[in-house]
Every structure is written in structure tokens, then in C-alpha cells.
Subunit: 131 residues, 4 copies
DNA sequence: GTGGTCTAGACCACT
DNA sequence: GTGGTCTAGACCACG
């Protein structure tokens, strides 16, 4: 799996990293039990600070996407994937809401918005998208 | 228009404010040419600092949602609202993409995601929503 | 002479006004000895504050473009027009310099810049341009 | 690169700063990818407030002249420099127009004006100029 | 009274 | 140590 970062982005690197890995899981590119590079290795690979990688991994672990074993290293969770909790949905809505509001202001039709979402669904499931 | 802020949120106050105002425009609660409170007045109202309000206003001005009028003060833009530009769409996709990816991981069906979007569309257009 | 103002512009109204009048003189639309509306009349016409008009007139008077008589009112100067002083040139250069610098950065050729200037010269002398 | 400010000038400090940096880019003194001092360092250097420097940097970032890089700090943009857009040209003309109008009033010949521009072009490209 | 500019100093997130 | 956010309070230009 290729991880590309945008160092000028406003999005913190560790969040970008988290998102890429989640996208990898979503696309099926990263399978349950598959192992991820060690903090050190990945840090060197991407030439970013170890702490940054660590932070991303901790986030993913706390959400239950990955497991960190002393010896086996970092692997995509073997347990169940996290579910759609009520909290998650609330959070999701809170994140989408302003995006929809702005789209409305700019005159985007509901259908257009939805079709963008559909497109992204397909793109991600196919493992497409480098962004 | 009632503006409520969440001071404990991770989202910076000025972003929250920006979003609320955009939502107000989207819902039709704020109409073209309608004036917004002065920087100082709003600051006192919300008990936050003048500069924080100003930052939100500057953002909105730069995006073309409001105008800072020499005489009338701050008003919702009388010119055309900003459009759906290519850049906006690109940005929008970049913002939605990780949300969709995570939803997929958590096993949310495409239909469910889309129906949440539809719900939000309705909610906003009706001027609903407390968030 | 039609004076149009842009109330959302960053340029203060009284400066805009000053500039318009100077442009009127440059184009020949306003001739030596011609009279300008009184402060009150113009203020009402443009629906701006009297102080604003006054400020513009004072600027023009101080630079020697107009004369303000108790009885005859405001007229384009009957004396000699102000000249190109050393101070004026220094000032002019200071104003153009950053514009040229930015143009260079953006890859504009010297010829293009000069031709824009030539175009403006013609436009103004013909009394063209509403901007 | 030596940055000198005029604290008594009417031009806000952050604009002066912006202009100096753009001039530095135009002259070639500041090259693509070259890094600028940190907000705090420059603030101390010039004995102005951090926020003032920041404002200048934000302006330059928004226009695409610099990037604020997560690791390297502030650098002259590595991407393409901003171009001569239609909007830029419109703006430029609006800025030059009153300067030309006044020059005409004062009896400056078109040739003289153009030769001043040419002189400035040369001066800037050579990295000259103290202003 | 309005926004624009500037200062001083604080805390936090990120690397 | 970096930029980002926020506060508090001051002065000025504009209308």
C-alpha cells in the first residue's frame, strides 16, 4: 500500500495517515490481520517524525481499527471492526452538515451532492483514488 | 438569528461561527442584503473576543458570502453568491472521502449514508438543526 | 460628470472621489474654472456623509487641483495645475514598485505591463472608463 | 535577505512586508523552496509583533507565493507561482489608473511615465532598490 | 460607532 | 520550537 502525504495541507499529518489507512481497510487493500509497518520503519519511509506515526496508530487503535502487539507488531484488527455507533453517527452528521450547508449556498443540487457521494463510494471500494 | 457556540469543541470558534452563518444563508434565515451584527456587538453577545468574530467575518468575506460595506456595515452579499467551482468540488470531495471511508469500514450501507445526507439537506433547508 | 462609487471597496470613499475628480481633469471632462457641486449637494447626490465629500475636496485643494471660494463655491483651479515635483515622482515610484514586483512574479512581461499603461493613458485621455 | 520597514509609513507593516517579500521573489533573491524566517524569529528581528508577521505570511500564502510547510516551516512556493489571472489584471489596472490620471494632470508625458516603469523593472530584476 | 491595525502575552496542537 | 487560536486592550481611519 502506497501512502502519500501532503505536507502543506492544513490536515495534520497523523490525521492524513489515519485516513489513508482507514481508506485502505475500506477498499479491502488492507485485510484483517494484515500487518502494518513498524512505527520506526514507516517514519523513515515517509520521512516524518516517529511521534507522528505513533499518534496515528494510537488513534486507530483506540477506535479499534488496528491492534498493537508487543511482538507481532501492528496489525489490522482481528476482532470485529468497529461498528456504526450512535456517537459515530452523531459525529458524522456534525461533520457533513457544514459541507451540505455550503453546497446549498453555492447552488449545488441535492442530486449532485448525492452523486458525488456515490462516486466516492465506488471509488473507495474499488481501491481507487490517490488523493 | 440565534448563534450558539460550543466553546469546548475542537472546532475553532471562528470556524463554528462561519459555519453557522453559512447554514443561516442556506436555510434562508439570512437573506441577501441582510445585515449581521457588528464585530464588537457580536463579540459581546457571544462573550468571545472581537478578533475571533473578525476572523470569521474575514473568512466569509474572502469566500464571497458577505460584504463589508462602508456604510451598512457587514451584510450578506448583494452580489451573486459564490458558485460551485471546480476547486470547491475538489475540496468537498477531499473532505467527504475520509468520512465515507470510515463509514464503509464500520459497515454502513451506502443507502444509509445517502439517507443521512438527504435528511440533513431537508433539515438545513427548513432552517432546522441545533448542532 | 457622473461619479460612481464602490462602497464595498477597500479604498476609502473620499479617496475614490478624489481619484474620480482627478481623472475627470485628466480626461478634460472637467475644465479649468469649471465648478463642482457643493459639499452638501454632492453628499446628497451620492448619499454619503458630508464629511467624506469635504475630506476629498480638502485633499484636492491641498494638492492644488481645486480652489474653494466662500462665494463662488468649488472650482477646478484657475491657477496652474500642480506640477511633477520631485516628491511626486518619488511617491509615484513607491506606489508602482510593488505592482511591478508582483507582475514580475506572476510572469508578466515588461511589454505587457507597459502596454497596459499605454492603454490606460489612451482610455483616460479619451474620457473613457467607468471603473 | 534584508528586510527593512518604515514604521511611520501609512502603509501597514504587514503590507510592506508582503511587498518586500514579493520584491525579493521578483528579483530572484528569494528562490523557489527557499525558507523564510519563522514568524517569531522575524518578529523579533524586526521588533514587531508576531501577529503582524503572521498576517503578512497569511496573505502571501493565500496568494500562493509561499507555502507553510508542516516540516520545513515557511518556504517560497515549490509549486507554480501564481499567474497573471484576469482578476489580477483587472485589479492591477484599477491600481494604476489613478496614478496615471494624476500624472496626466501634472503634465507628465506618457513617455516619462513609461520610462519610470522601465527603470523600476530593471531595478527590481537586478535586486536593487532600498525603498 | 465601525472596521483595520498593532501589541503583548497565553495556551495548545503538531512535529 | 513551529504555527494556530484566543484574549485583552489600544489607537486610528473612516463615515
Amino acid at each position: 500500500m502506497l501512502l502519500s502525504l501532503n505536507l502543506e495541507s492544513e490536515t495534520p499529518i497523523y490525521i492524513q495517515l489515519r485516513n489513508k489507512i482507514i481508506e485502505g481497510i475500506a477498499s479491502g487493500e488492507l485485510k484483517r490481520g494484515e500487518s502494518l509497518p513498524s512505527v520506526r520503519a514507516l517514519a523513515q519511509d515517509l520521512s516524518v517524525n516517529m511521534h507522528t506515526i505513533n499518534k496515528a496508530y494510537q488513534l486507530l487503535k483506540n477506535d479499534g481499527f488496528i491492534q498493537i502487539h508487543r511482538q507481532k507488531g501492528v496489525v489490522i484488527t482481528l476482532d470485529e471492526m468497529p461498528k456504526v455507533t450512535e456517537e459515530y453517527t452523531r459525529n458524522l452528521e456534525e461533520n457533513i452538515r457544514p459541507l451540505i450547508a455550503e453546497s446549498i449556498c453555492r447552488g449545488m443540487e441535492r442530486e449532485e451532492f448525492l452523486s458525488i457521494c456515490e462516486k466516492l463510494f465506488k471509488e473507495i471500494k474499488k481501491g481507487g483514488g490517490t488523493s
